[in-house]
Amino acid sequence: MIQERELIINHLPMKTWYWLKINDKNAKIAVKNEDFPAEVLTKGGIAASEDESFAETLSGIETGMGKEFEAYIESQLYLPDLFVAEEGKDAELSIRFDYDRQSAGVAGNDADAADDAAVPAKGQALNLYHVVAKKGSNLTIYTDHLSRNEGTAVVDFRILVEAGAKVKLVQSHRFSEDFRFFSNVGVKVEEEGSFELVTVAFSGKEMNLALCTDLSGDRSRARYDIGYVSGNASDIDQNYLIRYRGKDTEGEIFSNGVLKGTTVKRFRGTIDFIRGCVGAKGAEKEDVLLLDDRAVNKTAPLILCGEEDVEGEHGATIGKLADEVLFYLRARGVSEEDAYSLIANGRMNSVIERIPETDLTDLKKELKREVFGVDEIETEA
């Protein structure tokens, strides 16, 4: 059954003038209220689990899309899939969502659901995941969302990073100009744990991307690397937050974007120093290249600070290539158009390079092909 809901998502943590139309987004979601049969692969010390003891903690983690969306997720009729990485072990988890698939036959879901959810061209999908990285574990999660057709998908992750554990979440979003996508993530990092996000996104009619990390433990870390290339008429709405709660916590947000055609993009990036996070350091940086005069770029990089002993900074560059960069390339015979393409590809590649090498999935290679159109590119890691 398809449910249609209208939700206010991606709230700016502190409102500003309404006329800027960036305080939040009014989104319409129409998806099947059931699990889409994703292709799930695991390696090392990780397994699906039915342990209910984590449910309350995971459901209570703050996410990027906000309370209204969280309540919507809570109201779903089925439980999230839970994966637990074993204490002190290395582990990998790959979840591939090929929304264009006409038939099922995938691991990790029961056959009936898979048959029923064999997604047609106008597919709808909603998937919920809970992940726990137990103490000292080292987990990489690869998520690959792919569609060349029309459709809507929602994916929601809640991740608990226990003391000393490391989690890297790789998100690949490759969509047609007709696909609508909602990615919502909430992460809680305990003492000396670390969380890293790598997001590579292409096109899509509507991309709503949100992530909130709560650095609750002392000396915990977070880093986001986000790269995206819009379609010719995309609507990209982002809300990224890091809450610094523990002492000596560190977190950084880096975002690189290329906007084409009549795309409208809103980036909200917040580093929030909560009183008591003595010695915390935070930074955010956003670079956006506009390739078309019709594109609209809205950026709101917030620093919220209730603690004296912190260091926070943010920076943004928006618009054209710097004159000296353009001059350098033109002087070497590169046309202006090629110069923009070169720089845009280079920026995307720098994000892709943060994806680890693995034999579990060819995702990194596929993303390079998406950018450069060829299989092998020699680059420095």
Binding site: M14, Y18, I22, L290, R294, L302, L304, E308, D309, G315
Partner: protein, 470 residues
Amino acid sequence: MKQKTQVDDVNRSLYDFRYGYDEEHYYKVDEGLTAEIVETISKEKNDPEWMREFRLKSLELYKKATVPDWGPSLDGLDLDHIVTYVRPKTKMTANWDEVPAEIKETFEKLGIPQAERESLAGVGAQYDSELVYHNIREEVAAQGVIYTDLESALHGPYAEMIQKHFMKLLPPTDHKFMALHGAVWSGGSFVYVPPGVKVEIPLQSYFRLNAPGAGQFEHTLIIVDEGADLHFIEGCSAPKYNIANLHAGAVELYVGKNARLRYSTIENWSKNMYNLNSKRALVEEGGKMEFVSGSFGSHVSYLYPMAILKGNGARLDYTGITFAGEGQELDTGMKVAHIGENTTSVVSAKSISKSGGKSVFRSSVTVGENAKNAKSTVDCASLMLDDESRSDTIPVMDIRNSNADVGHEAKIGRISDDAIFYLMSRGMSEEDARAMIVSGFADNVSKELPLEYAVEMNNLIRLEMVGSIG
């Protein structure tokens, strides 16, 4: 072990003199806001008919508009009991000796006549809702510069010009407090600088709010014609009362082709003041608007001067500092709209938070579709002096042009131990080192402020913020 050095609040006792507010010597309208009150104000002011209608239309807008929910709380502001119009029972004069002794004493204590004698081209002083003193130097008047109160100008040779510009940049539809302003505005100045005239020394206006529970809604309209040049200084202070006071003034600035206007403000309202002032400039081709803004006083401030860079090559320079101490929530910043080609905006904002004070830097930079080669740089830095305070930065950029070059940088932090160590290793005490760093932090902004012209600014910035450390 880290030691903290005390940085004192800005001492406002100098401005907290009231000389026994005596209702017998003042005319004021009833509390709250009704059409009858607006009609009364209009009649008192001998408004032309269009202005009377304008006030009544604004009142309707005010009733419909909602109080903003995106900034500091305005719960303490009881609009039903704010007195919108208070005037001393005296006529405006150009002779300082004729100003009533009590009012004169207040202004003299603030150093206004002294500042005028020394270095100002003209001074306008407003006490509560009315201008009580207005004067302009002969040589400046001889250049054709008009500096007068707005209400007299409404009936003079510039009436048409005022009607053409009044509340066009800041229409009553802008927000609730602009609608309120449109309905009950009173006092304020009109300045016109003819084409090509460069006013060598600054003009100053001074606002003071003495009546408890009253609002001040002065309107300043400045037109700097083609190729002209003006520096205008605005200073504000109010004594401390327990009943919340409201300041919702409006400043409309028209900067002509290749003209330059510098508008410097020191806001030093007492801590019961809700300062909801609006300022907006329209800058024509090759024109330059400079805002220099210091926000020290008030309980709550919403203050975001805006420049609309309409003409090709127009430019905005904004330099601001905000000091939020105990009980203060100062939400300040700026807005700029790039519309013309090759327009430039350069913004440098600093803030200091201490003793539980909260400062917010809020900004918007919009670059329109036709603003080819627009350039904008926004730089803001915040200093936290203790962990009871807050400092938030909320900038937004809305860019709709691929040829734009927009940069933004912000930093927040405390005084670095390394810097203290560096200075101490060269023989300074820790206290002196901290004082020097805070002084340096504020100095690149305060250097822009015309300290030599206004005694109040000297008192505030030099003595209190820099000198009281340790």
